[in-house]
Amino acid sequence: MPVANMTNVVKNYRVGKVEVPALRGVTVSIEEGEFSSIAGPSGSGKTTMLNLFGCLDQPTGGTVFISDRNVGRLSSNQLADVRNHNLGFIFQTFNLIPVLSAFENVEFPLILLKQGNAKERKEKVMKILEDVGIGDLAKRKPNEMSGGQMQRVAIARALVKDPKIVLADEPTANLDSVTGEGILKLMKEMNQRTKTTFIFSTHDQMVMDYANRLIHVHDGKIQSDEKR
């Protein structure tokens, strides 16, 4: 059953007076529980695809469905709600809130969702922090953690609200290969355990190797779509 779907999606950006095409009629469907990777060189359109799946952007043409909702015509508040309820994000640069502890960073999306009381939130946050292997770092601030530890917090933050899809933009790009592989293993494990759908954009071969579906984009079009 597809959790995300693009049909004939066109996305153009305006740069000054010039209209630059980023996607030129992309059709793709992401199934529930997939561990998919969108790969391609810089400027190929992979981040644009991720942004559209992430409801951070809207298509110029075609339709994008997230959990049966056509997100192409939603207002900014409605898009925020779709992101809030359905999507988790993992960024290349972690993007943790520096003034909050690991625990508070992970708790933040639950508060935005108004999910549970303080005790329930605490249990949930501590469990996910234990699951990603940093239960003992709950009180640390981001500047007191390594890159790998920060990315684990980011993974916990993305997964804590049980989203349908986790979108990860080059999640290993700022990590050394050993730490990067550890992060990938963790995400794969979480994918298998929680059946959460993961979609990556990457040009890292190791990420591609871990994916069970590899979508290659080039010049705004899908060049290949390989399921493993």
């Binding site: 925020a80 999507l87 909050l100 935005l112």
Partner: protein, 408 residues
């Protein structure tokens, strides 16, 4: 959560936040100090006007006020005793007396200065005015005594003291010249320049005889038990005493009120400039903070934070900076105000040279504690800081998440 986040965010760039808070604190501190000083001057001046010049209410002959600068003796109340008797029966009246004000030249045979003569009834003047308590040297005058009290500034000008004689040159009600040699019985120190620098006081009987006034006076002065009733009492008297002019101390202290309002207007201008600078500081701080946290704003938007929540976060930050700045401002205001209330500022060195500027101050003036002004300053600081944060908050909330996440 937003509040907690806002609270922690304001300390991310501690030095900048501190400078912004200091700007607010300085603005509010100056406001509180100025308010205390001006209110002190007002209270002091109004008290002296009431205690030495006007009482609470004055009754004049109709037309007297039109010509008040000349202190006309022909526009007098010829039968004051009847009016005094009637008015004094009112239960609202604490004291009543009558006076004659007249223009004089005071001379020691060498120098001659213009001044004001005030003929008072020594027996009941103290029921309305406090001249008796202001006798710094010598004694208060008695009924019918050919003696005078003199303001200490005038005494200094003539270099005279108690027991010395000065000549009072004036004109009677019928414009004939009159000269009186009067012994100085007491020196007045009221700290009201209208008295200390420009007045002599003689017994009413001596004044009436010398000025050919018979039993007439130029004014009847009333002190009420409750000063807040002056307007009501004036209206009541105006109905009962037709043909006379009834004026309250507020009507008569127009010069003090005018200078007070002018000073307040001028101070408001200075204060506005200081506040505008502080507010631009807050707005700038929040705007810089928004631009520094573009990626974070993008991330929060990606996580599903609505634009209005992002706006609220930055407005909270502005309001919190305003709150802390205002608290510091109140503390600074209190610290600066304490010596002003306790020790005052001595204006004596400049007041005599400046002449009559309206305020009834010859020496020190003191600040006053107005605690409600501290509360107003605190609320003002927070509310206005929040308001000036709306624009930077709007800028932050308008950032597109995709663009924001791209920023290095």
């Amino acid at each position: 959560m937003l509040f907690k986040l806002a609270f922690r965010n304001i300390f991310r760039n501690f030095r900048r936040t501190l400078l912004t808070m200091f700007a607010i604190a300085f603005g509010l501190g100056v406001l509180l100090l100025m308010d205390s000083m001006l209110t002190g001057l007002d209270v002091d001046s109004f008290t002296k006007v009431i205690n030495y010049e006007t009482g609470h209410i004055k009754i004049f002959q109709r037309g007297y006020q039109e010509d008040v600068k000349n202190l006309p003796l022909d526009k007098s109340i010829d039968m004051p005793a009847k009016i005094i008797d009637e008015v004094s029966r009112d239960k609202n009246v604490e004291g009543i007396t009558s006076r004659i004000n007249f223009r004089i030249f005071l001379s020691d045979g060498i120098d001659q200065f213009p001044a004001i003569g005030i003929a008072i009834n020594p027996e009941d003047d103290t029921n309305v005015f406090k001249l008796k308590q202001a006798v710094e040297e010598g004694k208060f005058i008695n009924k019918g005594e050919e003696a005078m009290l003199i303001g200490e500034g005038l005494a200094e000008d003539f270099n005279v003291g108690v027991g010395d004689y000065l000549t009072v040159l004036t004109r009677t009600k019928y414009e004939t010249y009159q000269a009186l040699d009067l012994r100085i019985k007491g020196i007045l120190k009221t700290e009201d320049p209208k008295i200390d620098w420009a007045a002599i006081v003689i017994p009413l009987g001596v004044g009436q005889d010398s000025l050919d006034m018979g039993k007439a006076v130029t004014e009847i002065d009333i002190k009420l038990k409750d000063i807040s009733q002056v307007d009501k009492f004036r209206d009541k008297l105006a109905k009962e005493l037709t043909g006379l002019e009834i004026m309250t101390w507020k009507d008569l202290a127009e010069d003090v009120i005018a200078i007070s309002e002018t000073k307040r207007g001028f101070s408001s201008l200075i204060f506005s400039a200081v506040v505008i600078i502080a507010l631009i500081g807050i707005s700038n701080t929040i705007l810089l903070s928004a631009y520094e946290r573009v990626r974070e704003i993008g991330m929060m938007a990606a996580m599903g934070m609505r634009r209005k929540q992002i706006r609220r976060l930055f407005i909270y930050e502005g309001a919190l900076i305003g709150l802390f700045g205002s608290i510091f401002g109140c503390l600074l205001g209190a610290a600066m105000n304490y010596p002003l209330v306790r020790f005052g500022i001595n204006w004596g060195f400049m007041m005599r040279d400046m002449g009559d500027i309206g305020y009834r101050i010859t020496g020190a003036s003191y600040g006053v504690w107005r605690l409600h002004m501290f509360l107003i300053a605190l609320i003002f600081g927070v509310v206005v800081s929040a308001i000036v944060s709306v624009y930077p908050a709007w800028v932050a909330s308008k950032m597109e998440p995709t663009e924001a996440l791209k920023k290095a």
